[in-house]
């Protein structure tokens, strides 16, 4: 059924149709409307589940761990600082092999405190052992949740569905909401691989020393390899049953004869595709590679999709200080670095809009790109703060100095 709804609402409806049995959430640091909508559904008994309002994200993931280990389908959502606050439990859920599904409404990490969208939060957990699926649109965000439970439970691995905070979560778009019967037909009943059951007691979460730790981790590696197949098959099955493509490993766009390919994750892909259409009209041989699955990293699919492109521009929504682009490192490892040029563009940090105009200016001159670029960097602002720091030892807090310099007191996104 077609609906014009907020992204968070669409996801809440999708999650509800997946019949989670335990939902837990902490409201701030920050949360989305997703769990608010789910709490109302549980309260008015349209959704038969337990909803726990917990005291922190650390507790939220811990409740999900307990619920999943007891054999229930468990769901939570978080973002930003909240994801980092639950980090220890995030890793633990993966280590225990519990198929929890969590929405991450991607936002920046402070300091400086910033509530807006980028990918710093999810990128910080990329090695936690969770699958990470990135949604390009609200339709895909909805669809990925239905797929996520099936993938998670088939593999006994937790899945993070990443959707851009505000840009998707708070945006109203047309979405096709499936019928409950469709979801029921797609998502089988949860049969745990391991469960806390007094009738067949097992010890879960025991200490493992050097004698087997490597082998346990190797299994996690193997499960991730296996996940590449399962994600692809699940997306194919979903397309067959629901009549639309969603998810999968990668999504190439006009890459056929492309000499330059822009690789990116998430909702920015829409802007990138529009820009590429403009550049194509001007005769540029340029294409786009959407990376839908970031963990496990689909190295083979990326290499194949890039075809004969000689230059890959990786548009990054996060920064690894001291290293550079995070996704770039994965792409570089997947390719022969001698054969292709790889440039990193750090863009849209802390909610700064990635505009067609800026992208077009950058990509039209892609041949001149240095290894690392910050899109729309206000170099004057940076230089003036560097000068203040040189002038006085106690130059004060830089973020505050820079805001004062700009003379603005309210957030400006564009």
């Amino acid at each position: 059924m077609l609906k014009q709804v907020e992204g968070s609402r669409a996801v809440a409806e999708a999650v509800a149709m997946c019949r989670p049995q335990v939902i837990c959430a902490y409201p701030i640091t920050p949360q989305t409307h997703i769990v608010e909508a789910l709490s109302a559904m549980v309260k008015d008994e349209t959704l038969n589940a337990e909803f726990l309002n917990v005291e922190s994200e650390f507790a939220a993931m811990s409740v999900a761990i307990g619920a999943s280990a007891a054999g229930a389908r468990a769901y939570t959502a978080t973002a930003s600082q909240g994801l980092l606050y639950m980090s220890e439990a995030v890793w633990n859920a993966a280590g225990l092999g519990l198929p929890i599904v969590m929405t991450v409404a991607n936002r920046a990490i402070g300091a400086p405190i910033n509530i807006w969208n980028d990918h710093s939060d999810a990128m910080s957990q990329r090695d936690a052992g969770w699958l990470q699926l990135y949604a390009e649109t609200n339709q895909e965000a909805l669809d990925l949740h239905v797929q996520a439970f099936r993938i998670a439970e088939e593999l006994s691995v937790p899945v993070m569905v990443c959707m851009d905070g505000f840009l998707l979560t708070h945006a109203s778009e047309r979405v096709d909401v499936p019928a409950q019967t469709q979801v029921d037909a797609f998502l089988p009943r949860y049969e745990p691989r391991q469960v806390l059951d007094p009738a067949e007691p097992v010890s879960i979460g025991a200490m493992v020393g050097p004698e087997a730790f490597t082998e346990v981790r190797y299994l996690a590696y193997q499960r991730m390899r296996q996940a590449l197949d399962v994600i692809g098959a699940t997306a194919a099955g979903f397309a067959g049953q629901f009549g639309r493509p969603s998810g999968g490993l990668v999504r190439p766009y006009r890459t056929g004869d492309a000499e330059i390919v822009v690789a990116a994750l998430g909702s920015v892909l829409g802007t990138v595709k529009d820009t590429v259409d403009e550049l194509r009209a001007d005769g540029h041989k340029i294409g786009v590679l959407g990376i839908n699955t970031y963990r496990p990293f689909p190295a083979d699919a990326v290499r194949e999709a890039l075809g004969g492109a000689r230059h890959v521009v990786v548009l990054e929504r996060a920064l690894a200080p001291g290293s550079g682009g995070i996704v770039t490192a994965d792409i570089r490892a997947a390719l022969d670095p001698q054969a292709r040029r790889i440039s990193t563009v750090i863009a849209g940090l802390g909610g700064r809009a990635v505009t067609r105009k800026s992208l077009r200016g950058l990509l039209a001159q892609a041949g001149e790109l240095p290894p690392l670029t910050f899109l729309d960097l206000d170099t004057g602002l940076v230089d003036r703060e560097l000068a203040r720091m040189r002038a006085a030892r106690r130059s004060g807090p830089s973020p505050e100095n820079m805001l004062r310099d700009l003379g603005i007191t309210a957030s400006r996104i564009g």
């Binding site: 837990c24 811990s62 761990i65 619920a67 280990a69 493992v208």
Partner: protein
């Protein structure tokens, strides 16, 4: 206490004296059908109070629930010594997640059981004092506040024993630990305000809160059993001496625990909905020095000179407990002790101690 028809000390010893009791009054441990929830072969130290306390508490819960139970364990000694895989001493369904989240994981298990219509299965969360009073405090308080159907048991050995005896929020004043060493002008742990988790639990007005020690194992069994009569959040705080960390002889574990209660340093009581409903009277009151002297963690209080002012502060704390929790009812205090009867103090408002 409801189970006790016979005063065991009348037999002339402190043995539990099961043969004097009717079948239905005998302890859980005396029954052939006991569950051995934590069975033999684990790697606890000789004389470990925690292993003893955990076995008695969980076997009692196991009996009370006809075996329909799941345990969630915080990281710590109990978790490590019981499960270096592939060996496990747990005969029950058991989950270990992290150090600071056992109460929340237990809440998740309880929520799952409720969602799956299996409320016949009961949930126990458990951890040491570090996992409870320090790193697990937020999750514990959240579990209490929501009144989730979980019995949480804290095995209190008053420091981080698993990692080499570092100070915790439950470490008593003057005690030597690896991070409060017996050096300097004021050796040992500083005198702080303490963190009395049973009282904090009572402030949440949860259904049942109790303290116990391994010196009175029938009382421990009774309280673990009694806790299962309630639904919602419950808290059981068990003092479990640690020979390694306390510097006491492994053979003295029961004795040290008994001296902790008989000196008044560890009050044994139970409370319902925020109000104390009973406290265990001290039978033979002893000065705190009897308790302190047999533990190397307090050796610096006696050598090279006796630190009388420090000992006096510890004695004053014991006296306050005795008055506050009514551990020396007037009729026995004069008769049994040479010590002056403690002056009753007024309970702080809101703690509900008035109703004892």
């Amino acid at each position: 206490m409801p189970y006790q028809r016979i005063k065991f000390y009348q037999t002339g010893s402190l043995a539990v004296g099961n043969r004097l009791l009717a079948e239905d009054q005998r302890s859980v441990q005396s029954t052939a059908g006991r569950s051995n929830a934590l069975t033999c072969g684990h790697r606890a130290c000789q004389g470990c109070g925690e292993a003893l306390g955990a076995r008695y508490a969980l076997d009692a819960v196991h009996r009370a629930t006809q075996g329909q139970m799941i345990a969630v364990n915080a990281t710590g000694c109990l978790e490590v010594f019981s499960t270096p895989f592939p060996e496990t001493s747990w005969q029950i369904a058991w989950l270990h997640s992290l150090f600071g989240n056992a109460p929340a994981v237990a809440s998740g298990v309880a929520a799952a059981l409720k969602a799956m219509g299996r409320t016949d299965i009961r949930v126990v969360g458990q951890g040491g004092d570090g996992g409870t009073v320090d790193i697990g405090m937020a999750c514990l308080s959240g579990m209490f506040e929501r009144n989730d159907d979980v019995l949480y048991i804290c095995y209190d050995n008053q420091a981080y024993m698993n990692t080499g005896v570092q100070r915790s929020g439950a470490t008593p004043p003057a005690a030597r630990t690896a991070t409060t060493q017996a050096v300097g002008r004021e050796p040992g742990n500083r005198f702080g305000q303490g963190k009395n988790v049973p009282l904090i639990a009572m402030a949440h007005e949860i259904g049942y809160v109790a303290t116990a020690t391994v010196a009175d194992l029938r009382d421990l069994e009774y309280k673990a059993t009694r806790a299962m009569d309630f639904h919602g959040a419950r808290y059981l705080h068990i003092l479990v001496p640690c020979p390694l960390g306390w510097g006491s002889a492994p053979a003295d574990t029961i004795k040290v625990a008994r001296l902790a209660t008989e000196s008044g340093l560890f009050p044994v009581f139970e409370a319902e909905t925020g109000a104390v409903t009973s406290s265990t009277p001290i039978r033979h009151r002893v000065p705190v020095t009897d308790y302190l002297r047999i533990q190397a963690r307090y050796a610096h209080l006696f050598r090279p000179r006796e630190r009388t002012e420090v000992i006096a502060r510890i004695q004053a704390a014991a006296d306050r407990n005795i008055a506050r929790f009514g551990l020396m009812p007037a009729d026995i205090s004069a008769e049994r002790t040479g010590l002056p009867a403690p002056v009753p103090v007024t309970s702080p408002a809101g703690l509900g101690l008035e109703g004892r």
